[in-house]
Every structure is written in structure tokens, then in C-alpha cells.
């Protein structure tokens, strides 16, 4: 099995159908289904970023502040460090899963979850500072989409933190059953996808917001 994981598909000899029934791959089917679901979530982000592109125009400031007037990139950079570190530690947790190390999986996931909580605290301080300076979503069209994107991303992190808590309990109680393993892989897809989305949020909302 591990040999086929590294083996590449040769496009010249690939077939679109299987000639013989290979047996039902429960884990593979469910992770693929979840991956398709993550791509639909990415379409929601596509809609949000398209809206950001439209509402970043100066006519949508409605007398409110432009992004360069209030964005403090220090918080967003702190979020970048904590989220990328969390993704890295979750990756190490998956290496522990590969080695069948139950304590390693739970320990790695616990650290990744704590870093997710730190991310949320930084995000909360940042948003709280903006609110304290009268920068609310209802001030202008631009601020509406600005807060929608960062809060929508923070909601994903909350879901990930809760999911990790649940998986730590399941690993401790059930060990590495097929059900637990496919859920761990789905959580890996989910959590690692948040890092990719955060690259877009950090670059196009925060960094380009300072420049605009």
C-alpha cells in the first residue's frame, strides 16, 4: 500500500475506469467527498473576495475610513505565525498517526488546538481595537466585506478547534479505528486548507489594504 502511495500515475497509460472491482475504499471515498466539500467552501471565499474587489472601490467608503487608515499588520502577522505553526504541528501529529503513535497524535493535536486558540485571541483583540475606534461593519460597504471575510475565516478556526477537541477524545477512546482515521484525514484537509485561505486573506485583505 505504501508503495502505491508514492507511485505516480502515468498519463499515457491511465484509464478512466477500473477493469476489476478493487473493493470499497471507505477512507478514500470519504476523504474525497470531504475534499469536494472543501472546494465548495473555497467557492464561498471566491464570492467573498470578488465582493471585496468590488467594494474596495473608493465610492464604497461612504465617508468611512479606507483600509490603510486603520489596518495594523502586526496583529495579522501574529495570526500568520500562529496559524502556520498550528498547521505545521498538526502535520507532525499526522506523522505520529502514520507511525501509530497515539500519544503523539493527541499531543500534537493539543498544541495545534492551543495555537488555534491563540489565533482567535489575537483576532479578537484586533477586531476589538477596531470597534473601539468606531470602525464597525455597518459604517460602509467596504467595512462590511472586510469584517465578513475576517470573521468568516475566524469561524472556520473555531470549527477546527472544536473538531480537534472532539478528535482528541475519539482517539483516546477508540484508538485508530477506520472511522477515527478518516476523520483525522478530513480534519487535516480542513485545517491545512485554512492556511491556504489565510495566505489569500493576509495578502489581499491586510497587506494590499495597507497599500491601497
Amino acid at each position: 500500500m505504501s508503495a502505491s502511495a508514492a507511485q505516480k500515475v502515468d498519463p499515457a497509460h491511465a484509464t478512466l475506469w477500473a477493469r476489476h472491482y478493487a473493493g470499497h475504499d471507505m477512507i478514500g471515498t470519504r476523504t474525497f467527498g470531504f475534499w469536494l466539500y472543501m472546494l465548495t467552501d473555497a467557492m464561498v471565499y471566491a464570492a467573498l473576495f470578488a465582493t471585496l474587489g468590488v467594494l474596495s472601490h473608493v465610492v464604497n467608503l461612504a465617508g468611512g475610513p479606507s483600509s490603510s487608515a486603520f489596518i495594523n499588520p502586526v496583529y495579522a502577522y501574529g495570526q500568520t505565525i500562529t496559524l502556520f505553526l498550528s498547521v505545521l504541528i498538526y502535520g507532525y501529529s499526522m506523522v505520529a498517526l502514520k507511525n501509530g503513535n497515539r500519544g503523539g497524535v493527541i499531543g500534537g493535536m493539543f498544541v495545534a488546538m492551543l495555537l488555534g486558540v491563540v489565533y482567535l485571541v489575537i483576532s479578537g483583540i484586533d477586531i476589538g481595537n477596531m470597534f473601539a475606534h468606531g470602525i464597525f461593519p455597518q459604517v460602509s460597504g467596504f467595512l462590511s466585506i472586510f469584517f465578513t471575510i475576517i470573521i468568516y475565516h475566524a469561524l472556520h478556526i473555531i470549527v477546527g478547534v472544536v473538531w480537534m477537541l472532539v478528535m482528541m477524545i475519539q482517539v483516546a477512546r477508540e484508538g485508530f479505528s477506520a472511522n477515527v482515521v478518516y476523520r483525522l484525514i478530513n480534519l487535516r484537509l480542513f485545517w491545512h486548507f485554512q492556511a491556504v485561505i489565510w495566505v489569500f486573506v493576509f495578502a489581499f485583505v491586510y497587506l494590499q489594504g495597507i497599500v491601497a
Binding site: M1, A5, G23, F32, H57, F84, Q208, V211
Partner: protein, 128 residues
């Protein structure tokens, strides 16, 4: 009996975990984002140049993460994940690109610009 009676830890999607790839992805992504932050804060190029360079850095970071941590490759275990991603990308690009393009034209034709708008577009934030 269609279920494989074998250890789920032998599944290829478990076995593809790779600590060194995750560490490489972390270091490269952090470097790229740090350079992006530095470009945005120091204003060393024109605003348009900074926007283009940050977009480029973000694109590189996404490709690095897609390969190293999302395992978008053509191995037997991951090829359909990659195919789904490749089929999805045009939707993502078209949604954002066409919307931005349409509204860019619409604003020019339909919106009454604020008095300072035409000059503000080309003004750097430091100059006021």
C-alpha cells in the same frame, strides 16, 4: 465483504504524511509572507508594484502549500483530489476576475465619483 480487513494506518492517505515537507512549507510560507509585509510597510515601490509583488508572493505561497501540505500531486492516492482541484481553479479565477472586470467598467459608467476620487486612486497613503 467489500470492506478491506486491514489496518487503516496502512491507507495511502495516512502514509503520505511527511514531516520534512510540512516544515519546508512552513519556512517558505513564513518567508514569503514576511517579505510581503516588509514590502507593504516600507513602500519601497509604487503602490501598483507593491500590489503586484504581493499577489505574486501569495501565488507562490499557495502553490508551495498546495504541493507540500495538501499533497496535490499525481500519485495514485491523490490524483483525483488533484483533478478536482484543477477543475475547480477556473471557477475560482472566473468568479473573481469577471466580477472585478464587470464592476470596474460599471463604476466608470454609472457611479458619480467623489470629488477627490480620480486623484485618490493614484495617491499613495503616505502623501496625505
Amino acid at each position: 465483504m467489500t470492506e478491506h480487513m486491514q489496518d487503516p494506518l496502512n491507507h495511502p492517505e495516512v502514509q503520505l504524511a511527511n514531516g520534512r515537507a510540512y516544515l519546508a512549507s512552513f519556512i517558505i510560507s513564513m518567508l514569503l509572507m514576511t517579505v510581503g509585509l516588509w514590502l507593504a510597510v516600507t513602500h519601497i515601490t509604487t503602490p501598483l508594484g507593491t500590489v503586484l509583488m504581493i499577489s505574486f508572493l501569495a501565488g507562490v505561497a499557495v502553490i508551495i502549500q498546495g504541493y507540500f501540505i495538501l499533497h496535490m500531486d499525481i500519485s495514485h492516492a491523490q490524483v483525483w483530489h488533484t483533478v478536482a482541484m484543477v477543475l475547480f481553479l477556473p471557477l475560482f479565477v472566473v468568479t473573481i476576475g469577471l466580477t472585478a472586470w464587470m464592476f470596474h467598467g460599471l463604476y466608470q459608467r454609472t457611479m458619480i465619483m467623489p470629488p477627490a476620487a480620480s486623484s485618490m486612486v493614484h495617491m499613495s497613503p503616505m502623501s496625505h
